[in-house]
Symmetry: C2
Subunit: 210 residues, 2 copies
Amino acid sequence: MTDPATAALWPGGGERTETARRLLLAAVDSFARRGYHATTTRDIATAAGMSPAALYIHYPSKAALLAEISRTGHRATLELVERAEAAGADPVERMRALAESFTVWHARGHTVGRIVNNELHALPEEDFAAVAELRIRIEETVLRIIADGAAAGLFRVPDQRTAARAVTSLGIDVSRWYTERSSESPEELGRRYGQLVLRMLGAPDGRIGD
Amino acid sequence: MTDPATAALWPGGGERTETARRLLLAAVDSFARRGYHATTTRDIATAAGMSPAALYIHYPSKAALLAEISRTGHRATLELVERAEAAGADPVERMRALAESFTVWHARGHTVGRIVNNELHALPEEDFAAVAELRIRIEETVLRIIADGAAAGLFRVPDQRTAARAVTSLGIDVSRWYTERSSESPEELGRRYGQLVLRMLGAPDGRIGD
DNA sequence: GACGTGACTAAGCGCTTGCTTAGCATCTTT
DNA sequence: AAAGATGCTAAGCAAGCGCTTAGTCACGTC
């Protein structure tokens, strides 16, 4: 049983050394709890059980830690979203899979999710650019499913871009409020949010299921 | 035409002196753009056209500025939500009014909204406690309308608390992504989100309107 | 015209920050 | 066993932080 942040970042197992991973996970925890700017390099190093200077052997700067978390987190999210698109039999099933796994990811990995979605402004410029592109690809995958569904007469939405925004927004915001002490498991929440999303998109009621 | 942050904080007109308001608005701008911890008191004072020391004549600390923004912002949001509850003829209309005005507030006052929703952890303990109570009252107003609607057979939701979370979450997250350069006006977005919310809650289709 | 008051500034204090330097123990290579 | 590489620590530097101090200036009061 790996911890949730590890799972959110490296679903397929990472390639960093033990110490570098320990530092990165300590950074995830601190950034998520206090925010990037309120976290000191001493916080991170201490949490990883090392002296402040040791951090700089594995990462060139505090910002590099943030960048690695953000890039890895965004890459994992995009993969998840593309997998959902590829897997479903029709737009309704694709959207259900997407909303469910997107929600589960943001609930289970809410620490990583918080950093990914709320510390964009702290990223060095070129890291931001890379990450912004991944975000666009995520949004467009959602939009594509909605457009397909609307074309097939399965969804009825007044404005597709607004609907896509709403779907991703709902999932992203989970990372803001979800904690391990929440009453619903990530999977349970995912199922419910999947339903709400399909309803929101005006999917035929028989396809949703109560 | 007052600026959006002023409108979001003091819908009925504030009571502070000119200078204190100018400082507070400068703080709103800086906190929203860079985050609380990345903003310096020098930033705020300079943006308000004064020397760093002048800030401390009007506010006892940087945290006091944040606290005032957060408390005022939360109070305004609660008022807005309670007004929607009181105004609507039935649960469907109440929810439509709530979702619309909640969305409009978070779009138009997205700078204030960002601070209100993402800088809670930076609040001094007792300010946090006060604000947390306001947040509960907001959430419970939403829940009450959903429960009323479900009891009247107007809404069909699997879990009312989850549905309430989704409704507020959708509105709150608007402040994360909305900018003045967004293609939709706050009112247009409000109308669309109002529709999506009613659909999500399973309101009878005739009541929604395309 | 002396005095008090309220809004402000120039200067700076003590502390914390991100990051660097210099050095040390352990392992690997030859 | 000498030499180098590796992974770490103790100490500390320059810069920037929140906030304070001491003083200035415009204004109203007696």
